[in-house]
């Protein structure tokens, strides 16, 4: 997206030169197609490295935790919601941030693209005007981006940043008539036994590398429960019970906080759709508390407030 890139670089350069930010956090072009690298820039002469395209799928909010300087950060819809969550959870201060807002048209699902070219090796990708072309040794194919969105982007209802200091473009239109929870509803209709085998199958390839957890901005605990050794809550082998425990518990730790940014799924080396866990809890948060994570700096998340007028009858 050349228009956005020019604007991002211009803003970043200004921030560094005027001393309004000590560092800029953004993406630079990766060394292989469809993977970009999060980057930290201090020198205004290096802002040319900053890019924005449909492969900026790792969540930059992940890199904010505990930083002390003034930071310029680029943020699309979901990243901005994670930034809000980070601020509300005291992981970073709003005053430290200069948020360069990006109206987002979604990320390309690189796995789906690979499937569409029968796993032949993709050597280059170019995109323009809602389409993209992939090239390999003896093939070239052009696709519509809308057919290859990451599954979370395909149902995203908050593509525009919810908090920003400056926008790089006009807000994009919010899609209508989308049910973001179709997949959750399908699972909800299963019997308990079916659900169990669905999830057992889902996580069976898991190698417990924790890329999903580490890619997630919500998982900033100094010691994760799976790493705790005294007491040790979960076994560390690849015993299916322990693997399942990890996934269930992590999902619950994200309840009411997950923005469905998709970074977890993107990072998984074996392509497990781990959002199936968190999305159910997103739906529950919406159904039970009319809550979607990271939309407002002024509201406490549902699981950390006590309200006397809570409409749920379990509150006495």
């Amino acid at each position: 997206m050349p228009e956005y890139e020019t604007k991002i670089r211009e803003i970043a350069k200004g921030l560094l030169e005027d001393g309004k930010a000590d560092v800029i956090i953004g993406y630079k072009k990766g060394s292989i197609p469809m993977v970009n690298e999060p980057v930290l820039i201090r020198d205004p002469n290096n802002v040319e490295n900053l890019i924005w395209d449909s492969h900026c799928a790792l969540n930059l909010c992940n890199y904010l935790t505990g930083r002390k300087e003034r930071i310029g950060i680029i943020a699309n819809g979901c990243n901005s919601r994670n930034i809000v969550t980070h601020i509300v959870e005291n992981q970073i201060k709003r005053e430290q941030l200069y948020i360069i807002g990006i109206p987002c048209t979604g990320m390309i699902d690189h796995r789906a693209v690979k499937r569409a070219v029968n796993d032949r090796e993709i050597l280059a990708v170019e995109e323009s005007e809602g389409r993209f072309t992939v090239r390999g040794k003896d093939f070239e194919k052009t696709f519509e981006k809308k057919d290859f969105l990451q599954t979370n982007c395909a149902v995203c209802l908050h593509p525009n940043p919810v908090v920003y200091d400056e926008m790089v473009g006009e807000n994009v239109k919010i899609p209508e008539g989308i049910n973001p929870f179709k997949d959750v509803e399908e699972i909800e209709r299963m019997s308990a036994r079916e659900k169990w085998s669905f999830f057992a199958d889902l996580v069976s390839p898991c190698i417990r590398c924790y890329a999903c957890r580490n890619a997630c901005p919500l998982c900033y605990c100094p010691t994760c429960f799976v790493d705790e050794s005294d007491p040790q809550w979960v076994g560390k082998s690849i015993d299916p019970t322990d693997t399942m425990t990890f996934h269930f518990l992590r999902a619950y730790h994200c309840a009411g906080r997950c923005t469905d940014c998709g970074a977890c799924e993107r990072a998984c080396p074996v392509g497990i759709p781990v959002r199936h866990f968190t999305k159910k809890l997103n739906k529950d948060a919406l159904d039970l508390f009319s809550w979607e994570a990271g939309l407002s700096l002024d509201q406490r998340p549902p699981l950390d407030v006590y309200r006397v007028d809570d409409y749920n009858d379990f509150v006495e």
Partner: protein
Amino acid sequence: MVTKIFTKEEWVRALKGAKDDYRIYLPVKHKDFHAFELLSDETAPDFEFQNTRLSPKSLIFPQSERMFEYSLDEKDGEAHIVKETPKDFYPQAVVGIRPCDAHALQLVNVNFDNPQYKDPWWVKRLESTILVGLGCNEPCSTCFCTSVGGGPFSERGLDVILHDLEDVFLVKPITQKGETFINKLGQGRMADDTLSDKAEAKARSSLEKVTSSIPTGKLRDKVVTELFEAPFWEEVAFACINCGTCTYLCPTCWCFDIQDEVLGKEGDRIRNWDSCMSPLFTLEGSGHNPRSEKCQRVRQRFMHKLKYYVDKYEDGVQCSGCGRCVRYCPVNIDIRHVAKLMNDFAQ
């Protein structure tokens, strides 16, 4: 040793015929990627792959392995005595292993089987394994085996090598173990000169198709402490999320952790793969962690592979150039770039 020719159907049929004498593992496609799977009558192997997502390292060095077991039942005369869990060293064959992954096992072997230490389970399992390699006609753009002592048809570490000649496999034994395996399969016919020449020409041309490389020539001469303190680590490490993908997918990473798991009165001592990317890897009992920062961990991975190993074993780098870490690092930390930074570093 006799080189043979099998049609692809014959080859799979012959392997199926041998599956009572050997456990045979073959590449099978699952959803989006290939993995080695135990051959059964139903298995549909697929040799049209670049490489398996995970390396076959786990067939010799399982991700989780029960080492010992013990009883905590005081009524048991042998309570608290740690006994070795019986292990299974049934002969196995890994058919379709890529040359880089076989080379990688040789690099790991340096750690598990040396004059100072011998890991009995690794040694016995490697001994009971036959590695039947599949040469790479079409190396990936991220493969750099040729610059680290291997090659798309390198025979290093293999017992047999297969050349894929479209309709047929040329099956060339390299070791005695390999030849015995091929003879056990029966079938196949002797390769004639035309096919052998064709196979050689193809192997030569694929050598040129490896376009990626890492520079390693100057690593040996660097001063460890200078490289350790080089200014580039902070920048290299910034994007890393310490996920462990690179080390778990790597065919040359050998680190493990030992854990006791107790259920009721029965205990198991298990070893699990571990990764220097995890903060827990170096957490000491006192609570002190010498590698508490991400940057230190990222540096450890590259220093181990490209410097400590180089210095300690004088056997090149601890990397076989398979390219997995390049392809699957979610944030694109590229060992080719880091190797260049290290190799070119001057104080």
